[in-house]
């Protein structure tokens, strides 16, 4: 893996801390230097100002090892830290995470946990040296470890209970709104979902995850590995699919789930009809504005491997925009890229966009400037205008070069705060249209 200009993710520990901050009443215990917890919390917070959460940022217990611990080992410090944490911090689940330093010096965490002994609440360990992977990898590993160490295996499954995975807190900035909406939609067809991260969830939902009959993974690359492992250990079937945005994608998504679970088709049809009907009643009344002005834009989508294609699909299939470029900003293996390419090939685009894997912000702009005809000097040429960038706030410069709008959909999101808003599902599709049009009329 090469160096990266302005990477749009952090390290494995960063992803794990973001994820733990969103789990109900969970206390991380970092074994490492004092800065890891503070800085990585500051990083995940840039997913729309996610904030520290219940026990994030400077609240996270951290063994804060120093130079002498690097030489003599940090085990004793960690034991003290764990014991003190149980005295001070009030949680339902405690998770020890390691860092680059403690992985390099090789502290034996499992041995330390044995020495610490039984506590009144469960305590897990996940090996999270930052150099082992990025934040998305950390998320995947954590889900896998929760199943391996914490979630009981259940032989009898609940027919209509599913778990939803694939969205990484902070690094998928709209994860809360998206999960809430998908949970709502699944409830309409009689399916209960454990999301782990929405506010209705408790440790009971996590513990009950072993009773689910389906793991739904909303990402082609972040989560499938865990779902496959869980199929072996817990016997839970999986559905690897994409984040559904807007009417078409969401209807398709619900049918995928319905088929997997063998739901009553009539009931599903009825529920979906009502949702679609309501959706288009909103679109109906937006059309007065849309039809009177040319709001059909050329778009550039810049996002992670989970979200880039779903946004591009929405723009083309749902609202009839022309997506010129899709940039995926994660560092991916060739195998992961192929998984993405396959989904890309299956999407029916009116005009097929260019799919580019590019981690560097500067190179994204450079790519468009070097390849788009509007930057070449002929009298008449196809302009990329009006343009709209669906990317990160750090793509503002590109939006300026294209003289277009910018909607921050991907990490880091700095120019807006994200609370309950989501872009997934029916409501999310409406939210997205609302924001795309508002972006073009806000000067009125």
């Amino acid at each position: 893996m090469a160096y990266i200009e302005r990477p749009r993710f952090s390290c494995m520990l960063g992803g794990v801390l973001a994820t733990l901050s969103a789990l109900p009443r969970t206390i991380p215990i970092i074994h490492g230097a004092q800065g890891c917890g503070g800085n990585l919390s500051a990083a995940y917070s840039l997913g729309g100002y996610l904030g520290a959460g219940y026990c994030g940022n400077s609240g996270v217990p951290s063994s804060n090892i120093g130079e002498s611990d690097i030489i003599f080992g940090g085990g004793e410090k960690l034991i003290r830290e764990i014991n003190s944490t149980f005295e001070v911090m009030d949680g339902d689940l405690y998770v020890v995470t390691t860092t680059c330093m403690t992985d390099i010096i090789g502290d034996d965490i499992k041995g330390i946990l044995n020495e610490v002994g039984q506590k009144d609440k469960p305590i897990l360990f996940i090996d999270t040296g930052g150099f082992k992977g990025n934040s998305y990898y950390g998320y995947t590993k954590l889900i896998q470890e929760l199943f391996a160490q914490y979630i009981p295996q259940k032989n009898t499954k609940q027919n209509n209970l599913v778990n939803i995975f694939g969205l990484v807190p902070g690094y998928d900035p709209y994860f809360r709104g998206d999960l809430e909406e998908l949970k709502r939609i699944l409830e309409l067809v009689g399916v209960e979902a454990n999301t782990f991260f929405t506010h209705d969830q408790t440790q009971q939902n996590i513990l009950r995850a072993g009773e689910a009959s389906l793991n739904i993974v909303l990402s082609r690359v972040y989560g499938p590995e865990a779902a496959i492992a869980v199929k072996d250990t817990h016997g839970i079937d999986y559905l690897i699919t994409d984040l559904p945005i807007g009417n078409l994608a969401t209807v398709g998504f619900v049918w995928q789930v319905a088929e997997k679970l063998g739901l009553d088709r009539e009931k599903v049809s009825k529920a979906l009809y009502q949702e679609t009907d309501s959706y288009f009643k909103y679109i109906d009344r937006a059309t007065d504005l849309i039809a009177d002005t040319d709001f059909q834009n050329y778009a550039v989508v810049i996002a992670n491997a989970t979200e880039a294609l779903p946004y591009a699909k929405y723009l083309d299939n749902e609202i009839g925009w022309i997506t010129g470029y899709i940039f995926i900003t994660d560092e991916l293996t060739e195998e992961q890229k192929n998984a993405i390419r396959q989904v890309f090939d299956d999407i029916e685009f009116s005009i097929r966009p260019e799919l580019v894997f590019e981690t560097d912000t500067y190179r994204i702009q450079q790519y468009i400037e070097q390849n788009n005809p509007q930057f070449k000097s002929d009298a008449y040429y196809e302009t990329f205008s009006p343009a709209f960038v669906l990317g990160s706030t750090i793509d503002r410069k590109l939006a300026e070069v294209l003289n277009g709008g910018l909607l921050s959909i991907s990490f880091p999101v700095i120019n807006r705060i994200i609370l309950a808003k989501g872009y997934a599902g029916f409501k999310g599709g409406l939210n997205l249209l609302e924001d795309l049009i508002t972006g073009q009329i806000s000067g009125r």
Binding site: M1, Q34, N39, A43, L46, Y54, E81, S84, E87
Partner: protein, 514 residues
């Protein structure tokens, strides 16, 4: 005061070594200052610790604020990954200083498991060359994080090899987080890199045209220049200091007849060559720049003074007066201060009525919280406690004054929310003034908090004193947000923790300080 420096060494020692700076203490002001004086504050540690900043994170601040720089985080991809947020700040606050900044341009060398085994120097070289080619920056700061520091990457050697191949000046910053508990050590690290790699004297025919000796006005021109230099003072800014602060202190110093130059942020390194063209160096906040001022004194014989940060009426007056004394401008300063104070005092009357007797707790860097406390006292508030991020004997001049004027109140060295929340229950302040990252915990406890600093707001000088007072009063006038939050949010601390001493986990080996 304890201050061990060696500018010739590869990298500076952490402040817990060079200044015996403490990072853990709980008690009151008098014992804190006595302990700092004896140099034994760094004997305190904790048996329960929470995450905080590291010196690498703090090192990014000046590095990004140098005009048209590039910052390379040499480490795994998480180190420095919070830096996106800096982009908007340096652009916006550069613009309000009249400086067009390029924004935060940075790389991660993205070290992985294979690099940990084989070393990260090759990746660093590639990154430096590409950063220089892509952006043609003025300087490239290479920040050494924990991992490459442990595996033994030699960034100095890499820089030595590459310097002749690039246009930017390459600056090594030895800032692995584990090497310093006192994260303000970062300022010494950054200035050490700067003082090793840049010049601070103007170059003839580049920065100026030397006067012609045959010119009939030669003597007069030299005298004019020397006179101007003898009336020029350098101030040193920092991340926490805003454009309005700089403008206000510049206004006051110019009013007594001085020329003001401000360094090092929002300037190109080339402009730093004018640093020596002044008679005196003064820090706005010497927690940041003392290391550099001492270097300039040793190398260029430039004197410096260390007044307290100019927040509040008294501290601003003293800041101006200490500088005026150096230049023999006491009378001018006295007049100015009297005039400014009179105007301000009138304006503060209605504010004082609103905040009278209200209790405030202040957290952050020691100079800023101390002077902010004095301002609160000046407008009639009751300061119930101070929470220093770090502390050493350079704060004693200020905190001795505080003990006298405010009293021997609760005082600690702490970044820990556990201690903060516990102390809040005991001190029951009406509001808090908190360093960024801390206010969220205060607000969750149902107590309103405003930020200790933000470049958006004027804080220094008389204008700043008025504005900060006004914001304190405004915050107190409606605390519903905090109240609602406090009533509905759950904090991650066990109920019996609040019954313990807030400093229960502090291990203080200093039994003899009384």
């Amino acid at each position: 005061m304890i201050f061990d420096v060696n500018f010739d060494s590869k990298n500076p020692q952490s402040r817990e070594v060079s200044r015996r700076t403490g990072f853990a203490y709980g008690g009151c002001t008098s014992r804190l200052t006595r302990c700092a004086e004896k140099g034994c504050l760094n004997n305190c540690d904790r048996n329960f610790t929470q995450a905080t900043f590291c010196q690498m994170m703090v090192s990014t601040l000046i590095s990004f604020s140098v005009k048209d720089s590039v910052v390379i985080m040499h480490g795994p991809v998480g180190c420095g990954s919070q830096s996106h947020i800096i982009d908007f700040s340096i652009k916006a606050y550069g613009a309000s200083r009249g400086v067009k900044m390029e924004g935060a341009r940075w790389f991660s060398t993205n070290l992985n498991e294979a690099d940990v085994i084989s070393g990260g120097e090759t990746k660093l070289k590639e990154t430096i060359l590409d950063a220089d080619r892509r952006f043609r920056p003025t300087a490239i700061f290479v920040l050494l994080s924990c991992t490459p520091a442990i595996i033994g990457d030699d960034i100095d050697d890499v820089i030595k090899q590459l310097q002749s191949d690039v246009t930017a000046t390459l600056v090594p910053l030895h800032c692995p987080g584990f090497k310093a508990k006192v994260f303000s050590s970062a300022y010494d690290v950054v200035y050490h890199g700067i003082l090793q790699k840049f010049n601070f004297e103007p170059i003839p025919y580049v920065d100026y045209y030397p006067f012609n000796k045959d010119d009939k006005d030669y003597e007069q021109k030299v005298q004019q220049y020397e006179y101007k230099k003898s009336r020029t003072v350098n101030l040193y800014n920092a991340w926490s200091i805003g454009p309005a602060d700089e403008a206000e202190i510049r206004r006051l110093l110019e009013a007594i007849g001085l020329n003001v130059q401000i360094f090092v942020e929002f300037k190109e390194p080339d402009q730093w060559r004018m640093i020596t063209q002044a008679a005196l160096n003064v820090s706005f906040c010497h927690v940041h720049d003392l290391y550099f001022l001492e270097f300039l004194k040793q190398k260029f014989n430039m004197p410096y003074i260390l007044p307290n940060i100019p927040i509040g009426i008294g501290s601003t007056g003293k800041f101006i007066m200490e500088i005026a004394e150096f230049f023999g401008l006491e009378k001018e300063a006295e007049k100015l201060i009297a005039r400014e104070k009179e105007k301000l005092e009138k304006a503060l009357v209605p504010i004082k009525e609103k905040v009278k007797g209200k209790k405030v707790l202040i957290s952050g860097g020691y100079l800023r919280i101390g002077t902010t406390g004095l301002l609160a006292k000046e407008i009639g508030m009751e300061v119930v406690g101070f929470r220093n991020f770090n502390y050493d004997s350079f704060g004693n001049k200020l905190f001795d004054e505080i003990e006298e004027t405010i009293g021997d109140v609760s005082n600690s060295i702490s970044t820990q929310p556990s201690e903060l929340l516990n102390v809040l229950r005991k001190l029951k302040p009406d509001m808090a003034v908190s360093h960024p990252g801390i206010g969220v915990w205060v607000t969750k406890a149902g107590i309103p908090s405003i930020t200790l600093f933000a470049q958006r707001f004027p804080i220094f000088g008389y204008k700043g004193a008025y504005d900060l007072s006004r914001r304190l009063a405004r915050t107190l006038s409606n605390s519903n947000y905090a109240r609602n939050l406090g009533e509905n949010v759950h904090l991650p601390f066990k109920e019996d923790w609040y019954e313990k001493d807030p400093y229960y986990y502090i291990v203080d080996k200093n039994t003899d300080i009384e």
